[in-house]
């Protein structure tokens, strides 16, 4: 309490640290949009200059699918998603693939910017661009990205009470990703139950969802939960653990008020148990949404100590930003020795033999050396789980008989091991398959440097 000149007591007004700002709401939207676009353009430019440096090795697979003539990948034995591969193959006949990817990224960023603009949430313009999720979505083009963007458009049209128009992006989502369609359908069912959408649309949405689920990959019927997805937060799935924690705080605060968002979050958690990649990407978006709501609340509330208020907001913003920086720095371009490994394969093994390699090396081997591999890291491939399990087991195993059986089963002629994708205790301590290779007559070493080893499997009598 302060005393005025007249000696009357005047109540001190508690101000928010941010209350002195003179920025109007409309200006905030504009400033936010400019910031959003600058970050978006910078990311696309960086990604293009570094030859898709932010989307390896998925980028390689997209380029390969665009350059192929069919949807069958002969080198990895998988099928590309026809809805991604066919349009890309068509477009790349007219425009080079690099420019196509830039155009697609630009369209995605524009759509997101438009949706945020319509939502009247200027803060989203500031928070989303500094999150790892934004880097991923604006630089990594996969069928999942397309499904995600279409889902966002579906949700947006539903918010705008345009269910008829929503059917179009909803159908496209269904073509690309049944899990995303399921999430959307749960949301639509909720809206219909509360009579926000007319019941007459239910059959249409239901039929599309059912058809999509019928074509669900066979591996999807079982829970594909893998704890490593959570361990690798912030690097692989663009879901930073710090954003997740802050988002969780936001969820606890707003779950009652934000019923629709709560529903989407719960759907995301359920889908995560069925298909981790799809579920996590939705949880990422929800985490960022709740983080934004939390920051908004922190800014709007009047704090007793404005210093703590300012520091808290800065802290959250910095933590998201640092997660993004970590995400970007996680991608390192290939060094000379790595390039040398692929060059050796390309020059010395040219008869399209099948190479046993870690799935993360699979894409590069197929792209740079035109040789067959057991599998790559294309996640939608139906039998990928079995193949990756076999590869993982073989790399870690010192059982000669089992290793020989797996190598024979996939008709492999060479073994390609890299430091990057071998577990530390196996590569550095020469354990697992390296122990077998060192101590048995399973294979002969043909090439080695600090980054890789290539072994020729001895034929069995």
């Amino acid at each position: 309490m302060k005393k005025t000149k007249k000696g009357m007591l005047k109540k001190e007004k508690k101000e928010s640290y941010f209350s002195n700002t003179t920025i109007t709401y409309h200006n905030a939207q504009r400033i936010g949009l400019i910031f959003f676009l600058i970050v978006g353009i910078t990311l696309i430019a960086y990604n293009t200059i570094t030859f898709n440096g932010l989307m390896q090795p998925t980028a390689i697979d997209i380029v390969r699918s665009a350059e192929a003539k069919t949807t069958n990948d002969e080198l990895t034995g998988k099928q590309w998603n026809a809805f991604t591969a066919r349009p890309l193959q068509f477009i790349t006949q007219l425009i080079p693939i690099e420019i196509t990817l830039v155009i697609i990224s630009t369209i995605i960023i524009s759509i997101i910017a438009y949706i945020i603009w319509q939502f009247n949430q200027p803060l989203l313009f500031l928070v989303i661009p500094i999150s790892p999720f934004f880097i991923q979505i604006s630089t990594e083009i996969t069928s999942l990205t397309v499904a995600l963007v279409m889902s966002l458009i579906t949700l947006f049209t539903l918010f705008k009470k345009q269910p008829l128009i929503a059917i179009i992006p909803y159908t496209i989502t269904a073509l690309y990703n049944p899990f995303m369609t399921l999430i959307l359908f749960i949301y639509i069912a909720y809206e219909i139950y509360y009579e926000k959408i007319s019941k007459k649309f239910l059959p249409a949405f239901l039929i599309i969802a059912s058809l999509s689920v019928m074509y669900m990959p066979t591996t999807a019927s079982i829970i594909t939960f893998n704890p490593t997805h959570f361990i690798e937060f912030g690097e692989v799935t663009a879901l930073s653990i710090i954003v997740l924690i802050i988002g969780l705080c936001g969820f606890i605060l707003f779950y009652k008020k934000e019923k629709k968002a709560t529903l989407l979050t719960i759907s995301g958690i359920i889908i995560t148990l069925l298909n981790i990649e799809t579920g996590l990407i939705l949880l990422t978006i929800m985490s960022i949404y709740y983080t934004t709501k939390l920051i908004e609340k922190l800014i709007q509330e009047k704090w007793e100590s404005p210093e703590l208020q300012f520091l808290s907001v800065c802290l959250i913003a910095c933590s998201i930003l640092i997660s993004s920086i970590t995400y970007v720095t996680a991608f390192t371009p290939m060094n000379d020795e790595q390039k040398e490994c692929y060059a050796w394969l390309n020059n010395n093994i040219t008869n399209q033999t099948t190479i046993f390699a870690h799935w993360n090396d699979g894409s590069r081997i197929a792209f740079y050396t035109n040789n067959k591999v057991i599998t790559d890291n294309y996640l939608q491939e139906p039998f990928n789980t079995e193949k990756t399990t076999n590869i993982e087991t073989t790399i870690a195993s010192r059982n000669k008989e089992m290793t020989q059986n797996i190598l024979t089963f996939y008709e492999t002629t060479h073994i390609f091991l890299t430091r990057e994708n071998s577990p530390t205790n196996i590569w550095e301590k020469r354990n697992g398959i390296l122990f077998l290779l060192d101590t048995t007559d399973l294979a002969e070493k043909e090439f080695a440097n600090t980054e890789c080893e290539i072994w020729k499997i001895n034929s069995q009598e």
Partner: protein, 502 residues
């Protein structure tokens, strides 16, 4: 009591305490525990190169370290300004004894009685477990504990005006740089908020804001430091990748007799009684902070998330504060009886009982022999002179840091477990290397870990063996033997059977 005499008395307590503890520390040939040598090695590296040993070429034969850099930087600063003896043996003790100031002010705040606050401050610096862990040691505990209690004090006072916000901010930033225990503070604050909510007490706005900031800051700051460890160990990081053999032993010593020895019977009985009484009666939010702290520390101890001794330091100091409350309660009680003229004696009586029951434990804690004695130092000096550089020595994990500090040779294990793959396998392999009767098995492991020499000292006691059973062959030969005052042997590994283990 006047403020001047209050300050004088506090300074007197600190000076006497520092003088006693430092005089004991000076007699010791080296720092007491193995962890101190890790801090010292990092501090010396900072002094020379400006950065801590994040890429440590000697620990585990070469590894990336993850730790809070605050203490090594502080010790490096002290080593730059003061002579080594002052920087290592006096100033850390002086900092550790500031706990008495924090306890004094917290108790004063809760009881509003200066005399009782003095009693508790004296009790706090006499706690055997605290003395044991801060005498002759530069482990982070000497600064962590005072900072934690200052943070609690400033948090309690934060509602009284802005003047307490900045000290609170400084303490939590200091804590974040020094120790991951800031996460415990975050947990305490959350528990405090929940406790107030469940008892329908409105939390002060300033405190609410401080909680929000502290929790976010604690998570973020430690996430930055330990992100790589998190990606390696996942959620299991909360157990700090401690090998199971140590984790299982966390509670083998947690017996009532041990607790009484560590923190004393008076704080235990009086503190627990006061806690019990006030938890259900008091509506004072300040007291809820102590209740929340005690609850969180006890829970962490029971869940084996906090080392026993550190947990007991926190618990002992919190119960000491509660003892202050007990004295108030007992004084009030005596006032209501026919012996009311003796009510002032209750505090003196409790202090006397404390002195009698805990005094001997405190003296024993003060006189505790350092792990690194003269005999060991002589052995390390021999190693430095006679064993080639770049050699790897097999030691127990308790000897790892001191070996690297004194000899500049590689170890294969020490007490920094974060970031190490297959730590349980490694710990088990070390046990096998010490107790195995099979030369082949032992050699496979020795070759796998690239061990050149084996140090048998603490291993005799730890693994309860009287000799290295596979030694005295051509492959593993003794090159250094000392029989008095205890047996120490160094063996050289001369054979290679295979670079792999089975």
């Amino acid at each position: 009591m006047k403020q001047k005499s209050e300050i004088f008395l506090l300074m007197l307590i600190i000076t006497i305490s520092t003088a006693i503890v430092s005089s004991v520390a000076f007699i010791s040939p080296s720092l007491k525990n193995d962890g101190s040598h890790f801090i010292l090695r990092n501090a010396e590296n900072i002094k020379e190169n400006g950065i801590p040993l994040y890429n440590d070429q000697l620990s585990y034969g070469g590894r990336t370290n993850m730790f809070n850099p605050g203490t090594p930087f502080l010790i490096a600063g002290l080593l730059t300004i003061f002579p080594k003896s002052v920087a290592l043996y006096i100033i850390p003790v002086l900092i550790a004894s500031t706990i008495s100031i924090a306890i004094y002010f917290i108790t004063k705040k809760l009881t509003k009685k200066n005399t009782i606050a003095f009693f508790t401050s004296i009790m706090s610096i006499s706690l055997p477990v605290y003395i044991q862990n801060t005498t002759n040691s530069i482990n982070t505990i000497f600064i962590t504990i005072p900072l934690m209690f200052f943070a609690i004090f400033y948090f309690i006072n934060i509602g009284e005006g802005k003047k307490n916000i900045y000290p609170f901010l400084i303490t939590i930033i200091g804590l974040a740089l020094i120790t991951p225990h800031i996460l415990i503070l975050g947990l305490i604050l959350i528990t405090y908020a929940i406790l107030l909510r469940t008892t329908n007490i409105v939390i002060e706005q300033n405190q609410k804001e401080a909680i929000i900031f502290t929790v976010f800051f604690a998570i973020w700051s430690q996430f930055l430091i330990y992100k790589n460890a998190l990606t390696i160990h996942g959620p299991a990081i909360i157990w700090q990748n401690i090998p199971l053999e140590i984790l299982q032993n966390f509670f083998t010593d947690l017996e009532l007799v041990a607790i009484i020895t560590y923190i004393g019977i008076v704080p235990l009985v009086c503190g627990v009684y006061a806690l019990y009484k006030y938890t259900f009666i008091s509506r004072d939010p300040k007291l809820y902070m102590i209740i929340a702290s005690t609850g969180v520390i006890t829970a962490l101890l029971l869940l084996r998330l906090l080392p026993l001794e550190i947990g007991l330091i926190y618990l002992g100091l919190l119960l000491t504060i509660c003892t202050g409350l007990f004295i108030v309660k007992s004084t009030e009680f005596i006032k209501e009886t026919k012996y009311k003229q003796y009510h002032k004696l209750s505090g003196i009586l409790i202090m006397s009982i404390f002195a009698i029951t805990t005094g001997s434990s405190t003296i024993i804690a003060l006189q505790e022999k350092p792990f690194i004695d003269n005999t060991k130092l002589e052995t390390y000096a021999w190693i430095k002179e006679n064993i080639p550089e770049n050699s790897t020595l097999l030691t127990t994990l308790e000897e790892g840091h001191s070996l690297t500090y004194y000899t500049n040779r590689k170890n294969i294990i020490d007490t920094h477990f974060l970031g190490i793959h297959d730590i349980n396998e490694r710990a088990n392999d070390i046990r096998i290397m010490y107790i195995s009767p099979s030369i082949v098995k032992a050699l496979q492991l020795l070759n796998f870990y690239e061990v050149d020499f084996i140090l048998m000292d603490y291993a005799y006691q730890k693994y309860n063996v009287d000799r290295l059973r596979y030694a005295d062959t051509e492959c593993v030969v003794p090159i250094y033997t000392k029989e008095e005052p205890r047996r120490i042997t160094i063996f050289e590994v001369k054979c290679i059977v295979s670079s792999e283990r089975n």
